[in-house]
């Protein structure tokens, strides 16, 4: 093989070059990609009846998220003419594949979605506005579906392009045994109180926060929790929704980054956070290594199994006592493909998920998160003395305080991998300053929006 490279006789080289040239001309005639702007208008007529004809709904869901399959099974039980064909991938794989899968000829009907703005721009998703009207989704709290709306170049307003299979809330899990060991009798009421607990844990030889920072930056959870409190959360939301003029370079973000730097220097995060991945973090926390863990309610059911009775949960406290709670909260977004063969049935399923009593119970029991839906429907109760019950309560409290914001990691398609993750890894290792961090994230954001 090696000698092939240089011992190629000139004639064959000429032949190869010409073949390459032919290949290039054959492909280079037209620019890659296609213009798909034909189906931008929402279909006017939609059906809200399922009918009795046999239907197979193609679903593309996330591995390790059993809720989708549980709901599909129950739906088939209730509607015998509908079968599901579910294909699963890791979430990161879905993120990478979604555009091509949606553009292909066997595009699924229902798909777990990453950030939606690019997909909407490429006309790959069905506009759900007609279903919104037909099913009366205006009875849902407006904030519930806000993150799923995409307008011209921004998110948060405009047409509806997705629904949640459960609506997750994030906050701080704590180890009850370790908490009582350091004298924590109730969840902290202010950021300062929280920091005092961190210091107490450190002195007592307890790892204050168990947080991952490998592959993707888990320390962005505490960072945004602080950022939400140190300024006006609408500033954060505007930035995530790509509102014109929004910037990450704010005093709140800087103050949050300085706090993270301080925590890192004080040893509040694990020393090897940059080498610890998500699964490793959850494992360590369950083993009792770590007083706090910033995470979301999707882990509640798992923690109830792994450390029954020993896990607690609270929303990250406000800066001053009695202040409003703000937390990252996002729907487990599913959308309907623009090329779906059964869009009406897909929308029927999404509506059923939010309104059917059994479906709502499954969302809580299997998914561990709030089922969403109309505000007048009761939220199914979780077993007492579980962390699941605590996260559900927190979710309702957050809804009542109207304190939900999306994740900064979702601001653009590449912001998490290209800026937040590497720069936060640098920050906690002392290789980046807080000022540098804030500027680097904003620079990547501006770069991506300029494309």
């Amino acid at each position: 093989m090696a000698e092939l490279l240089t011992r190629f006789p000139r004639r064959r080289t000429v032949l190869l070059t010409s073949l390459l040239a032919i290949g290039m001309t054959a492909t280079a005639c037209s620019a890659p990609g296609e213009d798909r702007s034909s189906n931008t208008k929402p279909d006017a007529a939609v059906k809200t009846e399922l009918g009795t004809d046999p239907i197979t709904l193609e679903m593309y869901a996330e591995t390790g998220f059993p809720l989708a399959k549980a709901l599909a099974d129950e739906f088939s039980k209730q509607h015998s003419n509908v079968k599901f064909n579910i294909r699963e991938d890791q979430f990161t794989v879905i993120v990478e594949n979604a555009p091509r899968v949606l553009a292909s000829d066997n595009s699924p009907d229902i798909i777990r979605l990453p950030t939606m703005v690019d997909l909407v721009k490429d006309d790959l998703l069905k506009n759900l506005d007609p279903y919104f009207t037909a099913y009366g989704w205006d009875k849902f709290p407006a904030s519930q579906l806000m993150q799923l709306r995409v307008g011209v170049g921004t998110r948060g307003t405009g047409s509806l392009y997705g629904m949640g299979l459960g609506y997750s809330v994030t906050g701080v899990f704590y180890n009850k045994k370790l908490a009582s060991q350091i004298g924590m009798t109730q969840p902290p009421a202010t950021v300062v109180e929280f920091e005092q607990l961190l210091a107490k844990a450190k002195t007592a030889g307890v790892q204050p926060i168990m947080q991952f920072n490998k592959n993707t930056a888990g320390i962005n959870f505490p960072h945004q929790a602080l950022q939400n409190q140190f300024g006006d959360p609408t500033q954060v939301a505007d930035w995530i929704f790509q509102k014109p003029g929004a910037t990450f370079d704010t005093p709140a973000a800087l103050k949050a980054t300085q706090a993270i730097q301080k925590w890192a220097q004080a040893g509040y995060f694990p020393k090897d956070a940059n080498a610890l991945d998500y699964a490793g973090m959850v494992g360590e926390f369950q083993k009792g290594n770590g007083l706090f863990m910033f995470n979301g309610d999707w882990e509640s059911a798992n923690l109830d199994k792994g450390m029954p009775g020993n896990a607690g949960f609270f929303l990250f406290p406000a800066e001053t006592a009695g202040g409003k709670h703000v937390a990252m909260s996002a729907p487990n977004t599913f959308g309907v493909s623009a090329k779906a063969k059964n869009p009406d049935a897909a929308a029927y399923f999404l509506n059923w998920v939010h309104t059917n009593a059994t479906a709502r119970e499954i969302a809580v029991k299997v998914g561990g998160s709030s089922p969403g839906g109309p505000s007048d429907l009761p939220v199914p109760a979780a077993a007492a003395n579980t962390v699941l019950a605590e996260t559900l309560k927190a979710s309702q409290q957050l809804g009542a305080e109207n304190g939900a914001v999306d994740f900064t990691a979702n601001a653009t398609g590449g912001i998490f991998a290209a800026a937040i993750t590497p720069e936060l890894q640098k920050l906690v290792a002392g290789q980046q300053t807080p000022e540098g961090y804030v500027k680097a994230v904003q620079a990547e954001y501006a770069k991506e929006l300029s494309r």
Binding site: A2, E96, K214, D272, A275, T421, Q425
Partner: protein
């Protein structure tokens, strides 16, 4: 593999051997050539569809601003300009160059050492055992190797346990998560994987060296070191060339080991072009820039490998 290619007559030899062409001769030769092409056709079609076409498409994409789905915008050489001016991308290319030391130089140097030591025991059952053990890392899937090594190098892994056991706990750290040690740690994994391949190639090369040369050297009073420098090393020129070529390509085009063990972190400390191309194309949806980086990587590989070929292809003395 190499000797077969080396001894095959080249096109020029055939032409020289041909007698004065008459019309009948020319016709027969043309027909023979046509039949030849027919034999090559299936392979050629596969090669064109799976190698040449993607290569041409990559070059084409590199000239556009494209997200992989929508309409592409002509960008000219902008993507290449970005590759050569973006400090992050330059650092990433630099990482790959540093990896050459670990993936290429260390395995070849160690391979020479190990091969000289095991040269005498290459025959017999024991030789087979030695060869198998040395070649084992090459057989293990890189993903499995990456996972095993990330356990080994983790903060509570075997390496740190060993360090703590001998009282060197202060040195213990998360080797793959530390800014200073992550890239060398990834390099060590690569060296481990490629050492076996180099050793086996070099042992095979050594077994072809005429024993009379060693005898002559010894009669002239050469010690083992002199023997190695005067006989072994020059005779292995071609094998070393192959080792360097294969391992340098492995270093520059590395992906699996890095993806599994560090995902390119911490920061950009271990991000290599292969990983960045994948990220740019599939998670950041910048197919044009990813393609430009891929083309630059290909040119870089050729620029490193072709001179080595030129230097080592000379006839054995």
């Amino acid at each position: 593999m190499t000797s077969a290619l080396g001894s095959a007559p080249t096109g020029r030899d055939v032409r020289r051997a041909r007698p004065t062409p008459t019309r009948a001769h020319r016709l027969r030769w043309a027909r023979a050539a046509g039949t030849g092409w027919l034999y090559v056709l299936p392979a050629l079609v596969m090669y064109a569809v799976f190698v040449l076409r993607p290569l041409a498409l990559t070059i084409q994409y590199s000239l556009y601003d494209w997200n992989g789905i929508g309409v592409a915008r002509w960008a000219g050489l902008d993507n290449y300009l970005t590759v050569f001016t973006d400090s992050d991308l330059l650092k990433i290319i630099g990482n790959a160059v540093i990896l050459i030391v670990f993936f290429s130089f260390i395995p070849v140097a160690l391979g020479l050492l190990v091969a000289s030591m095991v040269r005498r025991i290459t025959t017999g059952a024991f030789g087979t055992v030695v060869r198998t053990i040395l070649f084992l890392p090459q057989v293990i899937p890189l993903v499995a190797a990456g996972i095993a090594w990330s356990w080994l190098l983790s903060s509570n892994g075997l390496l740190n346990q060993a360090l703590r056991a001998v009282g060197l706990g202060g040195v213990a750290r998360a080797w793959l998560g530390d800014f200073d040690t992550a890239l060398p740690a990834v390099g060590v994994i690569g060296a481990w994987v490629l050492l076996g391949l180099c050793t086996i190639l070099l042992v095979t090369g050594m077994s072809k060296i005429d024993p009379a040369l060693y005898e002559a050297a010894r009669l002239d009073g050469a010690g083992p070191v002199r023997e190695f420098l005067a006989v072994t090393l020059p005779s292995l020129r071609q094998e070393i060339g192959v080792c360097l070529t294969v391992t340098i390509i492995a270093a520059l085009a590395s992906f699996d080991i890095v993806y599994i063990s560090t995902s390119g972190g911490p920061g950009l400390q271990t991000t290599v072009p292969g990983l960045e191309i994948y990220r740019l194309a599939f998670s950041q949806r910048q197919v044009g820039l990813a393609s430009a980086l891929a083309v630059v990587l290909m040119v870089l590989v050729l620029a490193c490998v072709l001179p080595i070929q030129r230097l080592t292809r000379g006839e054995k003395p």
